[in-house]
Each structure stands twice: as C-alpha cells, then as structure tokens.
C-alpha cells in the first residue's frame, strides 16, 4: 500500500445523513472472494435505474463529479454492516479521501486499514464544502502531514487524526507487520495467562 502525504482532487458532495454500508455496496455483491473490482457496484441501487442505465439524479452521476477522488458526506456515514467491501468499493471507484461530520466506528477503521483517509470536520465546515462541491467542479487539497484542507478560494480547515493512524497512512504500512514486532509481548501475555 502506497503512503499518502498530500492529495489534490475533485470533490463530490453527498448530502445525506446515515448512509449505511448496505447502500454503499449492496449485499448481492458480497459473494466475491476477491478484494478488487467492487467499484462498478458502488451505490448500485442509487446509481443505476432498473434497466441498468445511469440514474441521472444520483449525486455521483452529475457530470461535474466525474473524476472526483474526495467524497464529502453527512452525519454517521458508513453506519450498519461491518463489510469492508464498502471502502474497497469506494477506493476502487476512485475515492481516496472521505470527509464527514462523523463516521460509524467500524467503517472508519476499515477505511484507514485500506489507505483511505477519513476526515472528521465540524458540521459547519462540512456544510460549506457540501455547498461548494454541489455547484460544479470543485478542487480541494488535503495535506495529511500538516493535517489541513484547503481550496484556492481561501477555504481552510484543520483536522485531527490519531497519531498512530496518521503514521500508518503516511507510510502505507501493513499493520500486521507492525504488530508482529510485538510478537514477544504477545507470547509473554499468552504464557502469563496460561498460569
């Protein structure tokens, strides 16, 4: 997994609350045993009409959102099922950063583990971004190292992130490899408990 320091990209707005992972990737696509190729099914029931054509009303089908790599969403994004297929689908579709007032816990963890930066911002900042991105092509720069977000019209916002996750994302580390350095501590723990 490649690390992320600064990401610059187009922003798509999805102004809906409580978007659950059943919407992000419906259950009929969870039967595959691979990690890849889920982008084509992202938001399937919202994105496509019954006859398979694009639902023109759906946010991601708006022409100005064509090449978006940053998704701005509303409260409690990613709630419900623990399916990691949700971040896999978002990433495969092209999203590398997701911004919302708050995220469901499991979804947040699943994002970080896949190198997707999930950023929590105050509601008024998110609302500002939702408005700007709704109007047309809108670009943001996300600097993970400096922990800030900016556009070229003067918008700026700082964000917080757990230093552990930040390091993980910056370096694109495989978490298991990191943990295996604690092998001795784990073995000692197991020995102690066996007593």
């Amino acid at each position: 997994m490649a690390g992320m320091v600064v990401h610059k990209g187009n922003v798509a707005a999805m102004n809906r609350v409580n978007v659950d992972t059943d919407q992000i990737i419906p259950k009929q696509f969870l039967k595959r045993i691979e990690r890849t190729g889920f982008g084509q099914f992202l938001f399937f029931d919202w994105r496509f009409n019954a006859d398979g054509t694009d639902n023109e009303k759906f946010e991601l089908n708006q022409p100005h959102n064509n090449n978006a790599s940053i998704l701005v969403a509303n409260q409690n994004f990613g709630c419900g099922s623990s399916r990691e297929h949700a971040p896999w689908a978002l990433q495969d579709y092209g999203f590398q950063v997701i911004i919302a007032p708050n995220f469901a816990d499991i979804f947040y963890n699943n994002c970080v583990k896949n190198g997707i930066l999930a950023i929590q911002l105050p509601e008024e900042k998110v609302n500002e971004l939702l408005e700007k991105a709704d109007e047309g092509v809108y670009e943001l720069t996300v600097d993970l190292k400096q922990q800030n977000i900016s556009d070229d019209q003067g918008f700026t916002a700082e964000f917080t992130i757990d230093p552990y996750w930040k390091e993980m994302l910056l370096n694109g580390w495989d978490e298991v490899s990191v943990t295996l350095k604690y092998e001795e501590a784990i073995t000692n723990f197991e020995k102690q408990r066996a007593l």
Binding site: V17, K113, Y164
Partner: protein, 471 residues
C-alpha cells in the same frame, strides 16, 4: 480501590501493550468467522506466508449464504464458491468449522452462545457488526472488518483506541407483553441511530436484570444500530446458569472457579461512566419501525410522523426520503399498515423463546390471505428443539413456512427475499433500503408482533390481539 466498570476490567485484562499516544494492543479470546467477510483475510495470510496464530481460539460457520429450504442444493454458483472457500481455508489453516453438515451449524451469533464458546470476560470479535450480541454474557464483543479479521488470524490481537463508557439504564419493570426487542427499539428511537458512536454501552436496570439470556442477546445484538462499538450486560446467576453444561463451557470444579472469576467482572457499585442515559420501562410499548433506519420507530399506537414537524433540515430530508421509500403518508396509524410478508428469524430473534412467543400467537389461528409468513430458526439445534416441542406443527398448521437455519431474509444474500414495493414485518435488525431485497419495505418488530401481523394482515397490538381472541 478504584471503582471500575466491567468494560474497564475486561479492557485492562486484555491489554498486551500500551504506549502513550497509541491505541492499546488487545488480546482476542475468541474469533468467530463466517463465509462472507473472511476469504480475503485468509488469502492475505497465504500471500504473505503467514499462519493462524491460535486456530483453537478460532471458530467458523456458514450462515449468510445458506439456503433455508434445501441447504445442500446451492444454485448460486458464486455463493457456493464462497462457502467452499471457507471450508478449504479452514482445512488449510486448521480452523474448526461448523459447515452445513454439522449439527452445530447456524447463525454465527446464535451458535457461539449455544455452544458455550461465548463466556463472560472474553474479548470476542467477528467480521460481522452483530457480534455485539455476545455482550449479553458480559463479554467485550465487537464487529470488525476483513483487514482486522486477517490481523486477528495472524496475531490474535487488535489495535484498539479505548472507547468511552455509556450506561443505558432501563428503569423499572417492563409492562406485560413488552419484549426485549421493544426495549432496544425504543432505546434507539429515543436516543438516535448514532448515540452510541465511539462508546461501549453497558445496559443496566431492573428490566435488564430480569431478562433471560436470550432476551439479553436481543438487546445487545442491536447495540450496533445505536452506533455503539459494543453493548454488554454484567454477568449474574442467569448468565452462569445458561452456561452450565454447555459443550465448550468449563466443567465441574473448573466451572465453579470460572463462576468466581466471572462474578468479579460485574461493574463495581459506584463506578462512573463517561455518559449515562435512562429510559422508563413502563413507558415502552410494542414497537414498529416506519422508516429506513432502526431509530425511525414508534409504539403500536403511534402514527407515521410528519417531516414538516422536524426543525433540522437534514433530518427533515431524511424523513421525507424514508417515507417516500416506504410508501407511507404522514399521520397514518401504524396499525392501519398492511403487510404482505412476515419474517421471524435472524441473529436478533431466532432463538427458542422467540419461536415460542411467535407460536403462542399463531396457535389455532391462520395466516391472513395474501400474506406469506416464514419462520427461520437460528441454528440446527434450535430447529430440532422446536420440532421436539411441536412448534413446527403449530406454524405449519397456521400457514407459516418452516425453514432450515440461516441468516435468510435478514439480508437476502440467499434465495429468501421480499419483492420490490412489498412490505415485511420482520424480527431482524435493519430496515435499511434494499436490505431484504431491492425496493423491499421492512418494518422491525418483535416475534410476537410479527406473528400477530401475519394473522391479522396488518400491524396490531399483540397485547390486545391475544386477549381479544383468547376470550
């Protein structure tokens, strides 16, 4: 001595490493695995040449994809491949699996407790958000993603930031005819679909204390629908009695020793929580959800809300979208809403007491014309027990379908689903758009309420319904 909650006690006992500014490395005592969220994790092990660190602490089953009519005929090739992949992975990595042929098979969160694998004080994870169910035993149990499944398989640990503690106190005794399902639905309706985010809930109060283990499992199961990391209940005699004699529970003297340790886990009197909320048990009515998330629910005597009464713009839009999807008009009495399907099952409500409650309502009555109703036991053991008690006959005579165990219509990853635009009274846990099938309209209820809806063809107060027809 500092007074501690059960959450802090379990957390401390499982911390392998903790350094300032870092999450804690927590040891995992039990890892439950199912076919949908594990194939990529096992593949990860293979690619990196890693093994399962503690296969004996890992237990797998198949439930999401399993057909409930003839479980051995799987027509969906991709589903079959996913199940075969789990069998192959378990064989290769030495993990015990209750496959379709096993008498132990069933829904992962039903069989863990049933086999006695779920025990107080354990840390339990599974690649499934309803892992919170196991918290009913005073275990710290939570759902994880597939990367974390791989991490636990490799290391038997997880990095976890310490969540906040949240006490949900259910005050007083429950009124007659109000069930555990109604309690958790009422809690979520009152406090919202994400009031638990970032927290672990401990459920307390007389109403909780008086619940059986099966009822406690129903409550803890839906902690995730409040956004909580986990939900648990301090263990007591009810917990210990449930576990005594179970397949994987300690035996004889070992059991008595375990009970002593388990008893010490309960939250100390006077321990403090980061946050506490309270609900009066006496105010809870049988619940029915009207919308597309579990907090959008009302009592059976309630009416569908009007979005215009909502001050927050985002919430107003959410209600409008939910009503549009559900095909409901504001002001409609929920008891006037007709159903075409009834589903009794899922990890929330598919245990013996759930089936008995539904059978009690169904006995001597008939499913209303135009309604298709099915009962799906949570495990093969429950199926056999229900048949031994004659419940299958009660259901069949009333016109319900009687199925083999599995996740079934809770998420419709198998042949069971609700057709577009049709309405289902369901004892499951999620009324999300498309959850039971594209365009399907789900109303969450208790097993007794579901059975009553099947007979009447629309939602009805099971308390009055029972009384009226018994007389």
């Amino acid at each position: 001595m500092t007074k501690k909650t059960i959450i802090e006690k379990i957390w401390e006992k499982h911390t392998v490493a903790s350094e300032p500014g870092k999450p804690s490395l927590l040891y995992i005592d039990l890892h439950m695995v199912h076919e949908v969220t594990s194939p990529q994790a096992f593949e990860g092990l293979r690619l990196k040449g890693r093994k399962v660190r503690r296969p004996e602490l890992t237990f797998a089953t198949m439930d999401h994809n399993v057909p409930t009519v003839d479980r051995y005929v799987i027509k969906d090739e991709i589903a079959k491949k996913q199940m075969d992949t789990l069998s192959d992975n378990c064989r290769q990595f030495g993990v015990k699996v209750a496959d379709l042929n096993s008498p132990d098979s069933g829904i992962v969160h039903v069989i863990g407790p049933e086999l006695g694998l779920t025990q107080p004080g354990k840390t339990i994870v599974c690649g499934d958000s309803h892992t919170s169910t196991h918290g009913a035993f005073g275990a710290l149990a939570f759902g994880i993603g597939t990367s974390e499944v791989e991490h636990v398989l490799s290391t038997q640990t997880l990095w976890q930031s310490k969540p906040k503690t949240l006490k949900v106190h259910v005050k007083g005794d429950l009124p007659l005819g109000v069930t555990a399902k109604d309690v958790i639905l009422a809690i979520i309706a009152k406090f919202g679909v994400n009031f638990g985010t970032g927290s672990i809930i401990e459920f307390t109060g007389e109403a909780i204390r008086n619940m059986t283990m099966e009822e406690r499992m129903t409550v803890c199961n839906m902690s995730i629908e409040a956004g909580a990391k986990a939900g648990l209940i301090s263990p007591d005699e009810t917990t210990f009695e449930y576990l005594r004699g179970r397949q994987y529970a300690p035996e004889g003297e070992e059991f008595e020793k375990a009970v002593e340790q388990w008893s010490a886990l309960a939250t100390d009197e006077g321990a403090t929580y980061d946050r506490t909320v309270e609900i009066e048990a006496s105010e809870i009515e049988p619940q029915v959800t009207w919308g597309t998330n579990p907090s959008q629910g009302i009592g059976i005597n309630g009416v569908v809300p009007n979005p215009n009464d909502c001050e927050n713009a985002a919430d107003k839009i959410a209600i409008e979208q939910a009503l549009d999807y559900m095909g409901l008009t504001p002001g409609t009495s929920i008891s006037d809403v007709e159903v075409q399907h009834v589903f009794i099952g899922s990890c929330t409500n598919s245990r013996m007491s759930d089936l008995r409650a539904a059978a009690q309502v169904a006995k001597g009555r008939k499913v209303a014309p135009g309604v298709r109703a099915m009962v799906v036991p949570g495990s093969q053991k429950i199926k056999l027990q229900a048949e031994a008690e004659g419940l299958d006959q009660v259901f069949l005579e009333a016109g319900f379908e009687w199925r083999e165990s599995g996740c079934s219509m809770c998420l419709s990853m198998n042949p069971d689903f609700v057709p577009e635009g049709e309405r289902c009274a369901s004892t499951s846990n999620r009324n999300f758009e498309g959850r039971q099938g594209k365009g399907a309209r789900t109303h969450l209820v208790s097993p007794a309420m579901a059975a009553a809806a099947a007979v009447k063809g629309k939602f009805t107060d099971v308390r009055i319904f029972n009384e009226a027809t018994v007389k």
